[in-house]
């Protein structure tokens, strides 16, 4: 296909380079945006090309997919590599990010080994300058033996010179990396077998590295035997070749780069405070407090809106002519259960928004540094912070990450501590519960639970450490610089994560909720007399000391073993089914929906000044809570609610975590961890009930 197109143009150019270095921008500037867009044959990867006239000569430019190397580790890299070999372009325009020279030069060095004519388009010079980096383009050209054109493609600077270069008959590039003699000898032998192919050096190196390249059978066989021979002699050709290319790229960039000592770095200034031995931890915790406050303030209006939507939908179902069983199934099972879970969406969105910001700004990496120090206090090996930090995202990979520690006792201590850390799913559960039980102090409650989880984990580790002490060391950490993340990227990431949750929750939560509905409703009697209710009743005496006396609350803890987000869905089914729902007409319902939406928008706007502690534009309307909030609020006193939340935080996080512990440490320790967590959860829940003011 591409071959047909080449036949028409006098000159074929291709652009190659790492992703996001401005290849498309450059083609745009050269061709004046006469693009043809399609896909690479047999793939979904975009293919972009342009035809244009430069000084009267017809030129085709093909944009190859972004690649870090020609090792074909991704589908994009495979296309770029195969097309480079197949197209035999008149000129390869290697687009290089001037602000990230070392990494980009790796590809340049590989291109030079392909024996193609190459010109280096040194792009993004403006951004490099802003970072305090200047590149001696003339020196780089001499070192590489290639033409180098500095560019700011987005502003069209340097495009004229690039066009001139594009029409010149550049000679093929010369290889720049010198390998160990044994590798060179093997390359030479294979190269001799590939006589006549300009890319023979690259092909030989690729074959020796063990990459899949198309070679004549005898050459392939010979390269395989050479590769094995080298390995038998203790040389890993892949490591040698990749390592030598990286070293050459490093040395080259050192020679041509001038790194201005940037004025006192912002990062250093901030870190002086954030990593301060005494202020670091409080400042970090204050940062997390802000995250929770942000999440709560901005999601609360939308949680209420979801509740209102649920109410209206249930009202419509009640007003419909459907048989009662179907009505109950729709209103209580589907709308009550699944709908309640939808209340997670706004919470997760704002939680992830704040966390994405904390992550990409570099703030969260500091958490690791501080955690490292806290680990030390708890008598844990410094490396234990890695799994523990991962635990705040999800406990399961965190359990597996304990493998990075060598000592079995250390691993076990950390693994037993991990389930206490509030993973992001549980955090969202707490935001929802706090909004229901403690609307006035929701932020403080969520933050307190977060700290309690961490404290329970560290105390566990510290106590076990006293029982079976081990030696430990802690290495210095290098931390990434602070950056201001772009709003668009942060929003997109938060949205993608929220959407992933909704898709993922669809399965397990819906199924559990429907099973609970069946258990409550099948048998014909009232839900209070169902098997599920009777089972839950049996457990009620256990939780009465904690002030939790409602069987529906107790019952929801059982499916909570599967995953904590299921608890909320179960409560939705159990509570909403018990309240009679007034039938709603279509228009009334629509009106209610519109009104709740306006209320939510208004409350959302109010959250902005509230975030900064400013007086709100209007006092929040004193409104009788409805739906689940109303039902739950009357079924338990604040002290009991607190005990319930503490228990929920600390007992077995989810099946997946238990499975992970069993796989890593065996059945015995998995059972121990479940019992231990139940015990801690119960004791601390009881304590919470006793100390919380009623």
């Amino acid at each position: 296909m591409a071959a047909l197109a080449t036949a028409r143009a006098e000159r074929l150019l291709v652009t190659v380079g790492n992703p996001n270095v401005g290849k498309t921008t450059l083609i745009n500037a050269v061709s004046g945006s006469r693009f043809e867009v399609g896909n690479w044959p047999g793939t979904t990867v975009d293919r972009l090309s342009a035809h244009c006239k430069l000084s009267g000569r017809s030129v085709e430019i093909v944009d190859l997919p972004g690649s870090y190397s020609l090792a074909a580790t991704t589908p994009e890299e495979k296309i770029a590599r195969d097309e480079l070999l197949a197209l035999k372009p008149d000129l390869v325009v290697d687009v290089v990010d001037a602000g990230n020279l070392e990494r980009n030069l790796y590809l340049t060095l590989e291109l030079a080994e392909m024996g193609l004519p190459v010109v280096v388009a040194l792009n993004l010079v403006d951004e490099a300058r802003a970072k305090g980096l200047t590149i001696d383009a003339d020196l780089l050209a001499r070192e590489l033996g290639l033409a180098v054109v500095p560019l700011v493609a987005s502003r069209g600077e340097g495009i004229g010179e690039l066009c001139e270069q594009a029409l010149r008959d550049n000679p093929a590039a010369c290889p720049l990396v010198a390998y160990q003699p044994c590798i060179e000898a093997a390359v030479e032998e294979l190269g001799a077998l590939l006589e006549g192919a300009p890319e023979r050096r690259w092909l030989a190196l690729a074959a020796l590295s063990g990459e899949t390249v198309r070679l004549p059978l005898p050459v392939a066989e010979r390269s395989e035997s050479l590769r094995q021979k080298l390995e038998a002699e203790g040389v890993d050709p892949f490591l040698e070749i990749a390592g030598q290319r990286y070293r050459t790229a490093h040395e080259l960039s050192q020679r041509v780069l001038d790194r201005q000592q940037a004025p006192p770095q912002l990062t250093e200034k901030i870190d002086r405070w954030l990593l301060h031995p005494w202020l670091g931890l409080p400042l970090f915790l204050a940062g997390m407090l802000l995250v929770f406050r942000f999440t709560f303030l901005f999601s609360d209006p939308w949680i209420e809106f979801v509740g209102a939507v649920q109410g209206v939908l249930a009202g419509w179902v009640a007003g419909s002519a459907l048989p009662p069983v179907v009505q109950s199934f729709l209103a209580d099972g589907l709308i009550g259960g699944v709908g309640t879970v939808m209340a997670f969406a706004p919470v997760l969105f704002f939680l992830y928004l704040a966390m994405s910001f904390a992550e990409s700004s570099g703030f969260l990496s500091r958490a690791a540094f501080i955690a490292d120090r806290v680990m030390h206090w708890a008598g844990l090996p410094g490396r234990g912070f890695i799994p523990l930090m991962l635990g705040f995202g999800c406990n399961v990979p965190a359990i597996y990450a304990t493998r990075t520690m060598e000592d079995f006792n250390d691993r076990l201590r950390v693994a037993l501590a991990i389930p206490f850390t509030a993973c992001s799913a549980r955090l969202a559960v707490f935001v929802l519960f706090a909004a229901v039980f403690f609307p006035a102090q929701a932020t403080a409650v969520v933050f307190g639970l977060y700290l309690l989880g961490l404290a329970a984990g560290l105390t566990t580790a510290a106590i076990l450490g006293k029982l079976a002490p081990t030696g430990h060391s802690s290495g210095a950490m290098e931390l990434p610089a602070y950056r201001l993340p772009t709003l668009g990227l942060t929003l997109r990431q938060a949205w993608m994560r929220t959407f992933a949750f909704i898709k993922g929750a669809g399965g397990s939560i819906t199924i559990t909720v429907l099973v609970i509905w069946l258990l409550l409703n099948v048998g014909g009697g009232k839900p209070e007399n169902s098997l599920y209710a009777q089972l839950s009743q049996l457990l009620v005496p256990v939780f009465t000391p904690l002030g939790v006396t409602d069987w529906r609350l107790v019952g929801a803890l059982i499916p909570g073993f599967i995953a904590k987000e299921v608890v909320i869905g179960t409560l939705g089914v159990s509570y909403l089914g018990s309240e009679p729902v007034a039938a709603l007409g279509l228009m009334d319902g629509l009106q209610q929906l519109g009104q709740s939406f306006l209320t939510a928008c208004w409350a959302f706007l109010n959250a902005i000044p509230a975030m900064f502690g400013l007086p709100q534009l209007a006092p929040p309307a004193p409104e009788a809570p409805d739906g689940l909030a109303g039902a739950l609020g009357t079924s338990i006193a604040p002290a009991g609610a607190m005990a319930y939340l503490v228990f929920l935080l600390l007992y077995t996080p989810c099946v997946a975590t238990v499975v992970a512990i069993r796989q890593e440490f065996g059945r015995r320790w998995a059972s121990f961890s479940v019992f231990y967590q139940l015990l801690v959860a119960y004791v601390l829940g009881l304590l919470a009930y006793l100390v919380w003011p009623s």
Partner: protein
């Protein structure tokens, strides 16, 4: 460069730590790590267990799990795989400076 990197990874480290030790650019180290990762010499801290990701059926957040490849963990910690460890042992057995014997010259 690869041998130094593998040696450093005997203890799991973050990209930032590695670039500090190797005195090179962090992005370049990331590039080398992903190349080595694609060939199975190094891996992320949590995915050293073949069973990781097999018990997550009930989790609503499994799509977000860094172990499943859709999300990058905020703290990329790298470690050696069994293959990487083997390679390191082999490298230690030979000196990279001495030209190796027996392969035919020109």
């Amino acid at each position: 460069m690869t041998d130094q990197l593998l040696a450093l990874l005997e203890r799991p480290r973050t990209t930032a730590e590695l670039s500090g030790e190797l005195k090179t650019d962090e992005q370049a180290v990331e590039g080398l790590l992903s190349l080595l990762g694609a060939r199975g010499y190094v891996g992320k801290a949590y995915d050293s267990s073949p069973t990781c990701g097999t018990g997550c059926g009930s989790c609503s957040l499994q799509r977000l799990c860094p172990a499943k490849g859709e999300e990058a963990p905020f703290l990329p910690v790298w470690r050696l795989t069994a293959r990487g460890r083997d390679a390191l042992l082999k490298v230690r057995g030979t000196s990279t400076e001495v030209p190796c014997p027996k392969v035919q010259g020109r």
